[in-house]
Symmetry: C2
Subunit: 328 residues, 2 copies
Amino acid sequence: MSIRIGILGYGNLGRGVECAIRHNPDVELAAVFTRRDPKTVKILTETAGVYSADEAEAHRDEIDVLILCGGSATDLPVQTPKYAQWFNVVDSFDTHAKIPQHFANVDQAASESGHVGIISVGWDPGMFSLNRMYANAILTNGKDYTFWGRGVSQGHSDAIRRIEGVQDAKQYTIPVEEALESVRRGENPDLTTRQKHTRECFVVAKEGADLSRIENEIKTMPNYFDEYDTTVHFISQEELNANHSGIPHGGFVIRTGKTGWNDENSHVIEYSLKLDSNPEFTSSVILAYARAAWRMNQEGQKGCRTVFDVPPAYLSAMDGATLRKRFL
Amino acid sequence: MSIRIGILGYGNLGRGVECAIRHNPDVELAAVFTRRDPKTVKILTETAGVYSADEAEAHRDEIDVLILCGGSATDLPVQTPKYAQWFNVVDSFDTHAKIPQHFANVDQAASESGHVGIISVGWDPGMFSLNRMYANAILTNGKDYTFWGRGVSQGHSDAIRRIEGVQDAKQYTIPVEEALESVRRGENPDLTTRQKHTRECFVVAKEGADLSRIENEIKTMPNYFDEYDTTVHFISQEELNANHSGIPHGGFVIRTGKTGWNDENSHVIEYSLKLDSNPEFTSSVILAYARAAWRMNQEGQKGCRTVFDVPPAYLSAMDGATLRKRFL
């Protein structure tokens, strides 16, 4: 029998989960829940229903795992504990400083209701976190580096769009190749913010806007741009639509470390991602963890978990003997 | 209280485990067991005893996990099930075709005795296997590639040394950069053995040996070299000792795959290792899994496990809250 998935929130991430389900024959989409008027939401899967988010509880018996596709700022802190009352849940909560509180809230709700909630799933947090953790457990004496990009930062793109005279914008975060190479050579550099990443902005200005003022406002914007070397390109809306409509991302997690009785040997562990679609890859990770949440709950487990707690085999549709034969 | 480790077999791997213990304050070396005369084996750790392998059972109460550092061809198939009678055990069994049988043997012995045995730990099998498995669970629609090197192949070096007229030799396996780049670009190439790796040999010939015959015998050696582009350099013993005494290795695990309703987006997941010392890195992985074996057994688990079955958090000396704070 398939694992029945519910999606709460049908934006880029929700649609990504729907696409990921298509690539996993052991799971099926049972329902999409939305805060919009359900009649206005068209989904791709013909066999699944679309309902108001308020009706979710009534569908609890039709869904094995509910995937929460809202934002970390205001949606997930409320939604994940709330829906853990009725469902096994998975979210991609990524506000790092608030993870301890979120973990505690979800743990309490899921423990009381007898469900499993897996939080902060995706690639960062998620696969990048896992690789940092594994690498640290192996090379206890070393140094960690994370680089992001080349990829679109939604937050930085939004910040540019709020500037007066800007019609549209896309911002790319780019790792500095020279810094990456130094890390890979095992030089253990201490890198400033400016030395690790640059920022490249493609901006559509409104007619008659003062381009040099816009460029200056971008480059000096506190927190977002002032600590980086930033390049600004003014382009037409047509060019932005044609060449910058994707949501690519990726990055690198590197740990360098020493072994040997006198630390005489050096090692480099590197994990990297190059993603055409940030939300679709994130969704694919989330769906694998939804499978794990269901299995763990079927075993009688309950409470909050993160990627650190889930045995890798639980993510795969294959059984243990097949996994050992194909991948070990 | 520290986790008390025993080492069976004090070669490169056993010595690597001893060094890894030095970098992990929560574990200690309790004893080394050897098939040689214990009096002839000098170890680095002053506080640990050296005993005959035959005496291991008598020390069962002094050891929490026994790490088996023998070879996969003849040692481990016998040793791992045998010592699982008395100890939690970890090995680095790497004869791929025989893993199902080895797993079954260790599972039976460990289940009967109430211990945990984790087999095939290291980097390949081990961390490479894990990365293949995670990447396949995320991108179910894709293609896998593993490249090894640049690194020393002990088996190929030994094969050269068996040729008449050869005094000493070291063989490096080298991934073909062009093939790697094609994979990273998502071109999904079908690669022959020759297109994936080259082999580079540094050979010390005995005085008066026929160099061209040796070179020809190497390059045409079935299974080992005939399917590869092989380069042979004749050098002096001094040069071999000075420049080729290390045991570096490494490699790349790459999965490329598609997502989207119509497979419209491509992704590349890459994991790579660059290791100064193959045995010391392998030992560092093994020690982390020894910690996991001990914890799983303390929880009441028993039987055979692989890296696919072990929750990542069990590898680390840190607790859950610390892991989430530092790595999530």
